[in-house]
């Protein structure tokens, strides 16, 4: 299979105004992914599915990821040129290595929602190509294009992402809650989700939960 860079090149040739970024994966798994801008996501997905060299006909996994606002402290290594030697070079002295200074830079990354699609090809038996789409920020209602018209496999998984992350998929034929009940209001997989404080009394020895339980049930239901 082509590398992700090559795929990106071909996609850019086809969709010149599409926003496409390859996102590196720093971990040992080394599976980079392709960030696709929302306006072209559906047509790019259709291209990936139908392109004879790729034929990514199988969308295995659809995931939402909630990236909250974060401060990233990045360590930037900077090479400081060594000071000019005061004395004439001593051949026996070790060569002066350039000094490396580590600087800590704080960077604020605004939060966003992300949907990750893992694509494989059943016809050509290769993969994965990882697609990502991102919202601009974490404000409600977050909205992203649905890929269900391209891969039916997204139908339930996008519904799940909608249910748990609150990302609305435009173009989804049947966007309803799937795991939570219909009357449920919040989106539980968001990082800032606050659990409801309505525990049943339980004999937990743990301080925090016990406090909560006490607030609701001053005495255990059947204290013996």
């Amino acid at each position: 299979m082509e590398s992700l860079e090559q795929i990106r090149e071909r996609l850019l040739a086809r969709f010149p105004d599409a926003a496409l970024t390859v996102i590196a994966n720093p971990g040992p798994a080394g599976q980079p992914s392709l960030l696709v801008g929302s306006p072209h996501a559906a047509s790019i997905a259709a291209f990936l599915r139908d392109d004879p060299a790729l034929r990514l006909d199988y969308c295995s996994n659809v995931t939402g990821v909630d990236w909250p606002d974060r401060e990233v402290v990045e360590t930037i290594k900077r090479t400081v040129p060594p000071p000019p030697p005061a004395a004439p070079a001593d051949p026996s002295a070790p060569p002066v290595t350039p000094k490396v200074i580590e600087e800590k830079v704080k960077r604020h990354i605004p939060g966003y929602f992300e949907v990750v699609y893992h694509l494989y090809s059943m016809a050509l038996k290769h993969g994965p190509v990882i697609l990502r789409t991102r919202t601009a920020d974490r404000t409600d209602p977050a909205s992203l294009p649905s890929l269900t018209p391209i891969w039916r496999a997204c139908e339930f998984q996008e519904r799940e992402v909608y249910d748990l992350f609150g990302i609305r998929f435009t173009g989804h034929p049947d966007l309803r809650r799937i795991l939570m009940w219909d009357e449920f209001k919040d989106y539980p997989m968001r990082k800032d989700y606050v659990e409801p404080d309505d525990y049943e009394w339980e004999p937990t020895p743990h301080g925090a939960v016990l406090d909560k339980a006490r607030r609701h049930y001053p005495a255990p239901p059947e204290s013996r």
Binding site: P26, Q31, N61, T63, P149, R152, A153, I178, L179, D182
Partner: protein, 395 residues
């Protein structure tokens, strides 16, 4: 249902099932339709699962699956516990196949952390995974035939054999169903020679059980009448809907991750991948029976070639495990289909994002397509042949 009725058709250009024309017919045409809510407390929905079935006589004109009754936000739990502590939770996804769930999770974490696995552990994992496949397919065949109204006989035969496998799991891992056996970089315990001998004995006897089971069922005219030609799934729809596992192969698509990904030591074994031609319920049943026969072959080879050596990588770390930032998607061919775990690490002891790709959940997508135009009785069998476990669907 309080929510408004779902749009009755999918966008054009989407591969659709043979029953799709029924979907297009407006309900007014049928006159009075009967809406039956099958479940969540129903004898054959395999757990707390509900199907809102609209019937024209006994024919299904609409079917909406409703689930989530068992939802406990498994993925949130995974984000709030350490990598190791998620392992016992994966047992509880698909509680029939804890060994393969463990393995899929271990593979994802090993990818994430770049952890090597000793050879002996890989072989033991294959043995356990194939035993799990036998276990799952045996159970499924029993449940499926129970759904056709067999008064429990095939189910009891299936459970009789399943108990033998569970006994093996119990004597190895300490628990019958919640094995919690795999670790990042190997397995928790080394199987003893006595245990391996017991596996050998089970493997030798399993073919006989399958023969008897097939004599009871596979040639039975009633079973054939009930299952052949019902719940047909086309290969195009199956691929598009991300259907995996025996269900996909029953439609004739050759896609087995053991061959495609060749994870673990599977490339070293000789086995065949049975393929169906019709994609109906009978094919889905028979493919599983044939897969069991292949599993027996794999088990024989794995038991023969099992090397000596450590069972857990010496560098493996379970407590205080903090993989480097990054992400990984690990998947294996579970008995129900592709079970995958998608992990994003931010360098902390807990995964930043922990996602399960559950095969039964995705396979349920095409339940309605397969059921349209069939009768209520078929819907029950079709659901049975999808092979869902609600612990995994609802997570």
């Amino acid at each position: 249902m309080t929510s408004p009725a779902a749009p009755s058709s999918f966008p054009s250009g989407l591969p659709s099932s043979p029953g799709a024309h029924v979907r297009a017919v407006h309900d007014d045409f049928h006159g009075d339709l009967l809406e039956v809510s099958m479940g969540p407390h129903h004898p054959s929905t395999h757990g707390v699962f509900r199907m809102i079935v609209t019937l024209d006589g006994e024919r299904i004109v609409r079917l909406k699956p409703v689930f989530g009754y068992l939802h406990r936000n498994h993925e949130k739990l995974g984000e709030q516990t350490t990598y190791l502590a998620s392992m016992p939770y994966t047992d509880r996804l698909d509680y029939l196949n804890s060994m393969t769930n463990n393995w899929a999770y271990a593979i994802a974490v090993e990818k994430l952390a770049g952890q090597a696995v000793p050879e002996r552990a890989e072989y033991v994992r294959v043995i356990l995974a194939e035993l799990t496949r036998l276990l799952n397919h045996t159970c499924l065949a029993g449940f499926l035939l129970q759904d056709t109204g067999c008064s429990g006989t095939p189910l009891m035969y299936a459970f009789r054999e399943r108990e033998k496998i569970l006994d093996l799991f119990e004597s190895l891992s300490g628990s019958r169903m919640m094995c919690n056996f795999q670790r990042f970089g190997g397995c928790r315990l080394d199987p003893t020679p006595e245990w391996l001998a017991a596996v050998r004995q089970l493997v030798d006897g399993y073919g006989r059980f399958l023969d008897e089971f097939e004599a009871l069922i596979s040639g039975n005219e009633i079973v054939m009448a009930r299952t052949q030609g019902t719940g047909v799934l086309t290969p195009a729809l199956a691929i598009s809907a991300g259907v995996t596992g025996p269900m996909l192969r029953a439609t004739g698509v050759d896609y087995d991750l053991r061959k495609v990904d060749g994870y673990g030591v599977y490339p070293r074994f000789e086995f065949r991948v049975p393929l169906g031609a019709h994609g109906d319920t009978y094919d889905r049943y028979m493919i599983r029976i044939l897969e069991m026969r292949e599993s027996i072959q794999i088990l024989r080879q794995a038991l023969r070639d099992l090397p000596a050596g450590p069972i857990l990588d010496p560098k493996a770390k379970n407590r205080g495990f903090r993989p480097k930032p990054g992400e990984a998607y690990g998947r294996i061919e579970g008995p129900k289909g592709e079970i995958g775990f998608y992990l994003i690490s931010d360098g902390s002891p807990n995964p930043f994002r922990y996602r399960v790709r559950p095969p039964s959940f995705v396979n349920l997508t095409i339940l309605e397509d397969m059921c349209l135009g069939q009768t209520v009785a078929d819907a029950v069998i079709i659901l049975g042949s999808i092979d869902i476990v609600l612990g995994e669907v609802d997570r």
